[in-house]
Amino acid sequence: MIPGFSVQSAPTEAHNAAASIYVAPSLANALDALSEYGAAGAVFAGGTWIMRSPIRHEPLRAHYVAIGRTAELGAIRIGTDVVEVGAAVTHAALAAALADLSEFDVLAAAAGRSANPAIREMATIGGNLATPDFAAADCVPALLCLDAEIEIAGRDGRERMKLEHFLKIRSTLAPGRLVTQIVVPRSERKTAHARLPLRKAGDYPVAIVSLSVTIDAVGRVQAARIAVGSVEPIARRWERLEAALIGRPLDAEGAARTATELADEFVGRDGVDAPAWYRVSMLPGLVRRAAAAALGA
């Protein structure tokens, strides 16, 4: 018997409802439960995606393991070399924890301006990363430009991988495994997050540019990582733009011009909120904003 408590529904009728939600008191208990449920089970973090399953005409899983009350997954550890963020840390908690660390401006902005205040108190960083169908997630491009690594755990142990790799394999994650933490290296850098919602706030962004640059002693870009989110189904880095910025002084207008020349590599996604061409056409402007914000940091 797994400790904690599990809420079971009365087995009276077959309908689109979860049979149980097990509230795990610890990571070990969560892993045990997920392993026992196998393919019939799934992780329930903030629930802001799962609870909308009926609107997407998707059936609920039979069993959920709620991880929001496990101390290990709700912790943020700010070390000298890395910041470790538990998968169940909410957007609001993450934004607050990083508020005074300017090297993490991109992630603080991504977490702190996404959705709306009540959702930011619920939605978790792990959920943002582990939901393949959520193309407009703010934290994914932010973490890509910060060179984040993802830790995954199962009953048989833990493994760590680059976020880029995790994004490729996340939809095939074996039952019983879950994201436990996100590890972000610390360094001297300027970062910024530029997003374009259809309203000023409270909306999904139709396009996102997250930027991280290291500037050398004479003011030239020494290293750059730029990631684009919401334009294509999966967020990814814009490596050609990164390469074009290296060795030059960072200049918002110049970066936007270069982005205009290179934007044809993106194949936008059509959606009810915006057509594909519109998302791609917004990129140079977002690059300009991100570069200007980074210069002002």
Binding site: A18, P117, A118, E121
Partner: protein, 151 residues
Amino acid sequence: MALSLTVNGDRVTSTADPASPLVDILREELHLTGAKPVCREGFCGACMVLIDGKPAPSCLTPAALVEGCEIQTVEGLATRSQLNRIQAVLEACDAVQCGMCFPGMVVSLTHLLTTRPDATREDIRAALTGNICRCTGYERIIDATLLALAT
């Protein structure tokens, strides 16, 4: 298995499925219809309630996760028939709107008044990001909130 909930100070039980949205339990079992299931996506704020003192969209909150929590709906914000501060000021300023978005706004603003006594006009706007009105507006509500903060 029955769920045990505390709603507006009363202990209640529910036999709803564990994944049932809290808003449905409030409305259909407890007949507390102030919270409205409008978008069911956490965007509009019409179903906003306080869970352990924090605003939360009850459309995205499963029953199983509110076991043992203190839930306050718009019906429970007044105590002994005394409107709370934001309710009284909204009424005095004639900043009351229809029952679709307004209960959720009152819930969000109740939290703002208790946690951000220094809130500016921009802070109030930000706090209402998740409360959408599609027919009237916000300015009189924001003016009234500033007055409530000043009194």
